[in-house]
C-alpha cells in the first residue's frame, strides 16, 4: 500500500475520560490507516470506544496523545478556520440519531453545509447551484417529494437519508457514519446500507461504526475494537 493511497491515519492514539473520580481509558495506543475509496467498518462491544474513535477521525474530538492525519492535515494540530473547513468540506458525518435541525425543512437541512461555507453575498451567487445539488441528492435518495417537509414529518429512514444527503452536500472526501442503522428497522437499515455501499462503489471513502456484525459485513474491511486497541482486522466475508 503506497502512501498516496492512504487518506486517513491514526498513530498511537490515546483517549481517556474522567467518570466521577475514575479515569476511564477508552483508546490505548491505537493505530489505523484507511485507503482512499475504502469502506471500513469498526465493530466492537458497547463502550469499546468505536464512536470516540470516529469522532477523533472526524475532528469532532481530539486525542489525548497520538497523531491523526487526513491527507496532509494533522487533525490534532489544526484550529479555527482550518478545522471548520475540514469539518465542512472534507468530511461528512452521519449520526445514529440523524441530528437534523428542526427549524429547517429537508431541503434547507441538506444545503446547510453549502450555506455555512458561503458568505451572505456569496450565497446569493451560489444558492441556485447549491439548491440544484441538494435536489439531486434528495432525488437520488428518493426524497424529492419530501424536500419541503420538516424533519418531524419524516420517518426514521427518511430522516437518515436526509442526514446522508446533508453529509454528501459538499462532496466530502471522507464519509463517517456512526451506527447509521442503529435506530432503524432492518428493512430501512438495509436501504441506507445499500445507499452507502453504492456511494463506496462510486469511489467514496467510508468509515462506519456499528455493533452489528451483519451490517459490518457490507464493508470491505472490518476492524474489531476491544479494550481500546484493534484486536482483529479482516476483510469482510
Amino acid at each position: 500500500m503506497s502512501n498516496a493511497d492512504i487518506i486517513l491515519t491514526a498513530e498511537n492514539v490515546y483517549k481517556s475520560y474522567r467518570l466521577g473520580a475514575a479515569q476511564v481509558r477508552v483508546l490505548e495506543g491505537l493505530d489505523l490507516a484507511v485507503k482512499r475509496g475504502e469502506f471500513v467498518a469498526i465493530v466492537g462491544a458497547s463502550g469499546s470506544g468505536k464512536s470516540t474513535l470516529l469522532h477523533i477521525l472526524g475532528a469532532l474530538d481530539r486525542p489525548d496523545k497520538g497523531t491523526v492525519r487526513f491527507e496532509d492535515w494533522d487533525l490534532g494540530r489544526i484550529n479555527g478556520r482550518k478545522l471548520n473547513k475540514f469539518r465542512n468540506e472534507m468530511v461528512g458525518f452521519v449520526f445514529q440519531f440523524y441530528h437534523l435541525l428542526d427549524e429547517l425543512n429537508v431541503l434547507e437541512n441538506v444545503f446547510l453545509p453549502a450555506m455555512v461555507s458561503s458568505t451572505a453575498a456569496g450565497w446569493v451567487i451560489r444558492r441556485g447551484s447549491a439548491k440544484k445539488r441538494a435536489f439531486e441528492l434528495l432525488n437520488q435518495l428518493g426524497l424529492g417529494e419530501r424536500a419541503n417537509h420538516k424533519p418531524y414529518q419524516l420517518s426514521g429512514g427518511e430522516r437518515q437519508r436526509t442526514a446522508l444527503a446533508r453529509a454528501l452536500m459538499n462532496n466530502p472526501k471522507l464519509l463517517l457514519a456512526d451506527e447509521p442503522t442503529g435506530n432503524l428497522d432492518s428493512a430501512t437499515g438495509n436501504g441506507i446500507l445499500e445507499v452507502i455501499s453504492g456511494l463506496n462503489r462510486a469511489g467514496q471513502t467510508v468509515v462506519m461504526v456499528t455493533h452489528d456484525e451483519e451490517v459490518a459485513g457490507r464493508a470491505g474491511r472490518v476492524i474489531v475494537l476491544s479494550d481500546g486497541k484493534i484486536r482483529q482486522r479482516h476483510p469482510a466475508p
Binding site: 470516540t52 469532532l60 474530538d61 478556520r81 458525518f93 440519531f97 441530528h99 451572505a120 456512526d178
Partner: protein, 450 residues
C-alpha cells in the same frame, strides 16, 4: 445567510422565544411610560419656573430691595440681546378678606402687568384678563377700584378632581393687604413717617402659575402701589428684582453672564461716584435655573432617583434576558453540536445568537414602544375612568399642579430606551453565547460514548 434564517426561525417558531419577547416588551413598556411621565413632569415644572421669572434675575434677597435700578433698566433695554425688562417688588404681607375676620400671610409681587407679561408668562397665567394684560388690575365690575390679582389657590375652591371652579368673573370682594414697610436701612418704618402699610384692593383676576407654592400664597399688586406699601417708594426708589427676557437665540446662561458683567460695571461706577445706594453690594445676577434652583433641584433629585431605580430595573432586565437566552441556548445545545459538526465557527455561533438577540430586541422594543405609546395616549382617559369608578387619582392636582398627566413622548428618550433595550439583549446573548462557544460538538450532541 443561515444565521439570519435560523435566527428568524428560532425567534418565531419557539414558544420560549415569545415568552422572552413578552418579558423584554414589558420592560420597555414600563420604562417608556415612567420615563415619559416623569420627564414630562420635570420638564413641565422647569418650564413653569422659567415662565415665572423670565430668563435672568437681577435681585437681592433683602426685603429692603436695591436702589438706582431705573438707570440699569435703561442700560439693559439698550442692549441688543435684551428683549424686555420688568422691575418687580417682592415682599410679604397679610391679607384679610373683607369682613371675614381671617388674616393670612401672603407673598406680594408688585408688577407692571404689560412689562411683566413681556418678560414672563404672566399673561397666560390670568384667567379673565388673559388677552387684556394692560387691564389686568382693573376689576371688571368697577374698573376704577384698585385691583389686585390673587393666586388661584388663595381664592378659588377645587372640585373633587382637583380642578378649579371659575365663576363668570372674580369675586367682588375687598382684600385688605397689610405690608411691613422698611426704610432704606432695613428698619421697620414708623407710623406717621409718611408710609402707608395697609390698603384695600379688589380682586380683578386669578393667576395660575402651575407652581403649587406660588399659587397658594401670592398676590400681584400694581407696581407703584406695592412699592409704596413696602416702603420702597421713598427716594431713592427701590425694587426687589429686575426680571430680564433675552432675545430669541440668546441662551439664558450666556445672556446672564453678560448682564452680570454689565451690573458689575454699573455697580463700580456708582461706587466711584460715591452715591449712597442701599443694598447694592447684595445684588446678584442669576439665570432662571440658578434663581429657582432650590425648587428645581428637588425635582431633579427625584429624577436622578428615578434614573437610579431604573438602572436597578435595567440590571434586573439584563439578568432576566441573560437567563432567558441561557435557557434558549441550553435548549439549543443539540443544534450547536450539529452546526459545529458541519463547520460552523465559534464566531459564527456568536453571530447567530447575536442576530437572534437583535431580532428579539428589535421586535420587543417595537412592541414595548407601541404599547407604551398606546398607554400614554390613553393615560388621561384611564385616569378619568379610574376616578369615575374608584375615586382614584394618580397625581393629586393640588400638589402637582398639572391639568393632565404629561404624555408627550420624547424622541430622544425613546431612542435611548430602544438602544438600551437592544444593547441589553445583545449583552445577554453574548454572555450566554460563551456557553455555546465552549461546548465541544460531541458533548453538545450527547453522543460521547465510552
Amino acid at each position: 445567510m443561515y444565521k439570519f434564517i435560523l435566527a428568524f426561525r428560532y425567534m418565531f417558531r419557539k414558544r420560549i422565544s415569545y415568552l422572552a419577547l413578552l418579558a423584554v416588551s414589558l420592560c420597555v413598556f414600563i420604562v417608556v411610560v415612567v420615563m415619559t411621565v416623569m420627564t414630562g413632569l420635570v420638564d413641565d415644572f422647569k418650564r413653569k419656573n422659567h415662565e415665572f421669572v423670565g430668563d435672568c434675575v437681577v435681585a437681592t434677597e433683602s426685603l429692603v430691595g436695591f436702589g438706582q435700578y431705573e438707570d440699569f433698566v435703561k442700560i439693559l433695554e439698550g442692549c441688543d440681546f435684551v428683549q424686555a425688562v420688568s422691575a418687580v417688588i417682592r415682599s410679604y404681607g397679610l391679607v384679610s378678606p373683607g369682613g371675614s375676620g381671617q388674616c393670612v400671610g401672603v407673598e406680594i409681587m408688585g408688577i407692571d402687568p404689560v412689562r411683566h407679561s413681556q418678560v414672563t408668562g404672566f399673561g397666560k397665567m390670568l384667567h379673565y384678563r388673559s388677552g387684556q394684560v394692560s387691564k389686568a388690575f382693573e376689576p371688571v365690575y368697577d374698573p376704577n377700584l384698585p385691583g389686585c390679582i390673587a393666586a388661584v389657590d388663595l381664592k378659588l375652591p377645587r372640585d373633587a378632581r382637583g380642578g378649579y371652579v371659575y365663576g363668570a368673573g372674580p369675586d367682588r370682594e375687598g382684600l385688605a393687604v397689610s405690608c411691613f414697610p422698611l426704610t432704606a436701612k432695613g428698619a421697620l418704618a414708623r407710623a406717621g413717617a409718611g408710609e402707608v402699610n395697609t390698603k384695600t384692593f379688589y380682586c380683578s383676576d386669578y393667576a395660575r402659575s402651575g407652581l403649587a407654592r406660588i399659587d397658594d400664597s401670592l398676590i400681584y399688586l400694581p407696581f407703584e402701589q406695592a412699592q409704596m406699601l413696602c416702603g420702597m417708594g421713598q427716594q431713592p426708589k427701590r425694587v426687589s428684582m429686575l426680571l430680564v427676557k433675552f432675545r430669541q437665540g440668546v441662551k439664558p446662561e450666556n445672556g446672564s453672564r453678560k448682564v452680570s458683567r454689565l451690573w458689575a460695571d454699573y455697580a463700580a461706577q456708582i461706587k466711584a461716584e460715591k452715591k449712597s445706594v442701599p443694598q447694592l453690594e447684595n445684588v446678584t445676577v442669576q439665570n432662571w435655573k440658578q434663581y429657582r434652583r432650590a425648587y428645581i433641584a428637588a425635582m431633579e433629585k427625584e429624577q436622578t432617583m428615578m434614573i437610579v431605580m431604573f438602572a436597578l430595573v435595567a440590571v434586573t432586565t439584563v439578568f432576566i434576558v441573560f437567563v432567558v437566552f441561557y435557557m434558549i441556548i441550553s435548549h439549543k445545545s443539540k443544534d450547536i453540536g450539529i452546526l459545529k459538526s458541519i463547520g460552523v465557527s465559534n464566531v459564527d455561533l456568536i453571530g447567530l445568537f447575536s442576530c437572534f438577540a437583535f431580532i428579539m430586541a428589535s421586535v420587543s422594543c417595537c412592541v414595548g414602544v407601541f404599547l407604551g405609546w398606546l398607554f400614554l395616549v390613553k393615560i388621561n382617559g384611564i385616569e378619568d375612568w379610574l376616578f369615575e369608578h374608584f375615586r382614584f387619582q394618580l397625581w393629586d392636582r393640588s400638589i402637582y399642579a398639572i391639568d393632565a398627566i404629561p404624555n408627550t413622548v420624547d424622541f430622544k428618550v425613546l431612542s435611548g430606551i430602544v438602544l438600551s433595550g437592544i444593547c441589553v439583549c445583545l449583552a445577554g446573548a453574548l454572555a450566554a453565547s460563551r456557553r455555546a462557544m465552549k461546548a465541544r460538538p460531541v458533548d453538545s450532541l450527547q453522543v460521547s460514548q465510552l
